[in-house]
């Protein structure tokens, strides 16, 4: 069993209450960080750890923190992205439910590192119970002097506020999130300026994913070098892989970055259910290009998955067996993005619905000869032209599904039926 980092001490239990967290040495590292280290030293340690953003983009966290200007009069903010909405992803939820104080400790360290005295925790509206858990954790942290004024006698102040989203996927995009937090419609912002310079309320802001911040106390406890050694080169630490679909043991597994996808599916998730064959895997949430059964020897780190044309994304591994109709799956994904497109910029607003409509026809047995060609072309026109990554997220699956399962799509178009369904009959 590989070493657990985030889920250490909570693999079989929950430590929602601060007493349970303190029992296993919780907040001890925070005391050391606040009283003995300068913010720059925290940033350096995180840089050394090779920690990369766990929300999906995989940007190096220490470098992101170092973009915050040090000598400005404006307040700085840490914003925690707990708007976990990527289909196939349920890792932040596990952290919040099992180890909310690990996140709280990471929040204080991260805020201290960037010089923020205010932190906003933005959680998706559907995570109602999780919001209550976090509210309680915040309250407990205040009571134990881990939040508020002059934390642990360090003269460092920090307040944390929890904000619940209202159910839009786009508010998980970091600048859409900032807009929503400011009380506006969740429309992603144009970049530049980047949030590190002009973020929440026009002030320097870091937006970090829950899993990212939860790794920070461990890094500060055992050192950046230790954390880096857990993963593969330039991909420090572990990841929480949320495995779903046709496997025997679906669930969230914490495993070192760089572990082969085959091992995740067959060793940890128990292989394919009912002794069926593996057909395809989405490696990191619905927006990532699909992998075929032949591609599962890929190492699950940001760079290796990117090298074969997909993305590690949010770590949501969706496994599909031989009886899965790829047209149906793609239609389901296309419906999601058409529903969630914010409508701000043209290619995504128009393209997502257009893709969905064509796929619906193909699925319904009303495909036309040019449909696949058009789907590829429309998706191509969405990639690289939108304000935020949602356009790419909607278009990349379309292109990869059709490229890798073209015969199946052609069968739908020409035979007006599903060959997978025929196999099943």
């Amino acid at each position: 069993m590989p070493e657990l980092v985030i889920l250490r001490d909570v693999q079989d239990s929950e430590r929602r209450h601060i007493e349970d967290y303190l029992k296993v040495g919780g907040y001890q590292t925070l005391r050391k960080v606040l009283l003995e280290l300068k913010p720059e030293q925290v940033v350096d340690e995180v840089k050394k750890s090779g920690l990369r953003g766990r929300g999906g983009a995989g940007f190096p966290t220490g470098i992101k923190w170092s973009f915050i200007p040090r000598n400005v009069d404006k307040p700085k903010y840490l914003v925690v992205n707990a708007d976990e909405s990527e289909p196939g992803t349920c890792k932040d939820r596990v952290i919040i439910e099992r180890n909310p104080h690990l996140l709280m400790e990471g929040i204080v360290m991260g805020s201290y590192a960037i010089g923020a005295h205010r932190c906003y925790l933005y959680i998706r509206g559907e995570y109602y119970e999780q919001a209550q858990i976090l509210n309680r954790a915040i309250e407990e942290a205040y009571q134990h002097d881990f939040l508020g004024k002059d934390i642990l006698g360090s003269r460092y102040d920090l307040d944390v506020y929890l904000h619940r989203g209202a159910g839009a996927y786009i508010c998980g995009e970091e600048t859409g999130l900032l807009e929503s937090l400011e009380g506006k419609k969740g429309w992603p912002r144009l970049k530049p300026p980047f949030p590190a310079v002009v973020g929440l309320y026009g002030c320097p802001t870091v937006i970090n994913n829950v899993e990212t911040l939860a790794a920070v106390p461990r890094i500060m406890e055992r050192g950046g070098d230790w954390f880096a050694s857990l993963g593969s080169p330039k991909n420090g630490g572990t990841r929480l892989f949320a495995v779903s679909g046709h496997v025997n043991k679906p669930g969230t597994y914490e495993l070192p970055l760089g572990i082969p996808l085959r091992e995740i599916i067959f060793n940890y998730a128990g292989g394919i259910k009912d002794h069926k064959e593996l057909k395809a895997v989405i490696p990191g949430g619905s927006s990532c290009p699909i992998l075929t059964a032949d591609e599962i020897d890929v190492k699950m780190d940001f760079d290796s998955v990117a090298a074969i044309g997909s993305m590690l994304g949010s770590g949501g591994v969706v496994v599909m067996n031989e009886e899965t109709c790829m047209v149906k799956v793609l239609l389901r994904i296309a419906k999601f993005y058409a529903h969630e497109s914010c409508g701000q910029c043209t290619p995504c607003r128009e393209g997502t619905t257009w893709l969905k409509n064509i796929l619906q026809r193909v699925n319904d047995g009303q495909g036309r000869p040019k449909d696949l060609h058009h789907l590829m072309g429309i998706a191509f026109n969405m990639i690289r032209t939108t304000i935020c990554p949602l356009g790419d997220a909607a278009a990349l699956p379309v292109r990869s599904f059709i490229q890798k399962f073209r015969k199946e799509f052609e069968y739908h178009v020409h035979q007006k039926a599903c060959d997978v369904a025929q196999v099943m009959v």
Partner: protein, 542 residues
């Protein structure tokens, strides 16, 4: 001051300039829908994507600031492909109802399709049905099927008019422009959203179905609605006289002037043109005989006016004649009035100021409380040291009768109220009204001379800041009407004075020589954006 190249052309621009601004300076066309220089950057239409060397992704030119040594391409295959793709997305749900759309001919969907599109349609799905032909305010009608959601109108009501009536509702392809609950697009700047709408989503209720835009001629002018002097373009239809119920001037559009009105005009000014082709226009001279107005030829009327004037002067002298000019008149008209009545005839009772019993209000943007375009010019040209004040005359109680009043265009009944105006006019043996439209005051006069409106003449107005701006002639004077300077010149000739001006420019030359505020100005140097007169009060302070 970074230097960059766009399509191999090099330019040096101030810090903070965006690529689209630099390209505009180089006359390199970058297509745009959401970008408007008077509004914040939305960056959402994605039409202005360009290729910047060393940046892998295409960049929106509207939001990308230039940097030293930047190399930009707007015409590579990569850019063309992206722009044509974006245009296709904009058009898939567009109704393509150009034949019944007022915007056709000045629509940027048409324009850019011809320049950057020209692809074969591959849209086979049903188009999304939306709200059509919704009246959203007194002047504007909305067709959400034609809308491309560029958000210019939304930014306008938030950033310029600050009236916040409309927004984009719903999400994704269901997004639509809607009125905010309980709101109506009813503010004094609402017409501007029609101008900035790049497609036919927001059209003008008054202009709706009146005339195809390709029949329109554009003439530079100045809005006569207030002393701001907003720069406008008069759109007149001379090619299809049977359209728009025979109206020649069919709409006004704002014209950019960085010193005056930028891109905007108010609704009061925009829709204030209707008097030009109104049935109340005075197209022929008339004389009152036994209570009835009879038509005269212009020569007969001028002859009659000259005769009455001569009689008055002979019978009762210069102090028996009063002239009320108007701050609606151009500088050239006012100068000829001053020259003839004041200098040649030696009258001292010349004024243009009438106390308004119902004064108008201005706002904190463009509209000024003074609803006249040329008060500053009239002050400079007509008022002198002798200190004649019409107000004293209007308020006087003694019963001495005057011989003649020559009234230029001002409706006394409207400003003073009927009883006061009637009482004042009764002090005169004879009243000559020189104006463009009938009103209660003209009805009370004895002789009516038809004059051209600002759209039918050329000349200059001086705005409240002392900016002299040119008005050009958009349409011919109606009927026998003449520019006021020409009417006065004819009258002067009838009395034996040699007035042979050919045009406004000639008069302006003399004006610049004779009136100190206008010194050093030249007509041909006024250009499209105007020149400033000399501020005499400041001269004296020095």
């Amino acid at each position: 001051m970074p230097t960059l190249t766009i399509n191999q052309k090099s330019i040096t621009v101030p810090d903070g300039t965006t690529i689209i601004q630099a390209a505009d300076k180089l006359d390199i066309e970058i297509p745009r829908y959401c970008y408007h220089p008077g509004l914040s950057i939305a960056g959402s239409c994605r039409m202005c994507l360009v290729e910047v060397e060393r940046i892998p992704k295409l960049q929106p030119a509207c939001n990308t600031r230039v940097s030293e040594g930047m190399v930009v391409h707007t015409n590579t295959e990569k850019v063309k492909e992206a722009v044509s793709g974006v245009l296709e997305f904009l058009l898939i749900n567009h109704p393509l109802d150009c034949p019944v759309c007022d915007q056709a001919g000045e629509c940027y969907l048409q324009e850019y399709y011809m320049k950057f599109g020209l692809y074969e349609s591959r849209m086979d799905e049903n188009k999304i049905k939306r709200h059509k032909a919704e009246v959203i305010g007194p002047h504007v009608i909305l067709d959400t099927e034609r809308c491309i959601l560029c958000s210019r109108c939304v930014r306008f009501v938030n950033e310029v008019s600050h009236s916040h009536e409309i927004g984009i509702f719903n999400r994704g392809s269901q997004s639509e422009i809607r009125l905010l609950p309980g709101k109506v697009l009813d503010n004094n700047y609402s017409g501007n959203v029609v101008d900035i709408c790049p497609v036919g989503a927001l059209t003008d209720r008054g202009f709706r179905f009146q005339c195809r835009v390709w029949y329109l001629s554009e003439t530079n002018s100045i809005c006569p609605g207030c002393s701001r002097g907003c720069n406008i373009s008069i759109h007149s239809n001379r090619q299809r006289p049977h359209h728009a119920e025979g109206r020649r001037v069919v709409r006004l559009k704002p014209r950019f002037n960085a010193e005056v009105n930028h891109w905007w005009i108010c609704d009061e000014g925009r829709y204030g043109y209707k008097f030009i082709d109104d049935p109340s226009r005075i197209s022929l001279a008339r004389v009152k005989e036994k209570g009835e107005f009879l038509v005269l030829t212009l020569d007969q009327a001028i002859g009659r006016a000259g005769q009455k004037l001569k009689e008055a002067l002979e019978r009762a002298g210069r102090d028996s004649v009063v002239v009320i000019a108007s701050p609606q008149l151009a500088n050239e008209d006012l100068f000829v009035i001053r020259k003839f009545w004041g200098e040649d005839l030696g009258l001292s009772q010349i004024d243009f100021r009438i106390p308004n019993q119902n004064p108008a209000r201005g706002d904190d943007f463009l509209l000024r409380a003074d609803r006249n375009p040329n008060t500053r010019g009239a002050e400079a040209i007509l008022l002198d040291e002798n200190g004649f004040d019409l107000t004293q005359l209007l308020r006087r109680e003694d019963s001495r009768k005057f011989q003649l009043l020559c009234l230029f265009g001002q409706d006394l009944t409207k400003k003073l109220g009927v009883p006061w105006a009637e009482k004042f006019l009764q002090q005169f043996e004879y009243v000559i009204y020189v104006g463009s439209n009938e009103n209660e005051t003209s009805a009370l006069s004895h002789l009516i001379l038809p004059s051209a409106t600002y759209a039918e003449t050329e000349g200059t107005f001086t705005n409240f800041e002392g900016r002299v701006q040119k008005i050009d002639q958009a349409v011919e004077p109606l009927g026998d009407s003449l520019p006021t300077w020409e009417t006065v010149s004819k009258l002067a000739r009838a009395l034996g004075y040699g007035y042979d001006y050919d045009n406004a420019e000639e008069i302006f030359g003399e004006l610049a020589e004779r009136v100190v505020e206008f010194q050093n100005l030249a007509y041909e140097k006024i250009g499209d954006s105007g020149v400033e007169i000399t501020d005499v009060s400041k001269m004296q302070v020095k």
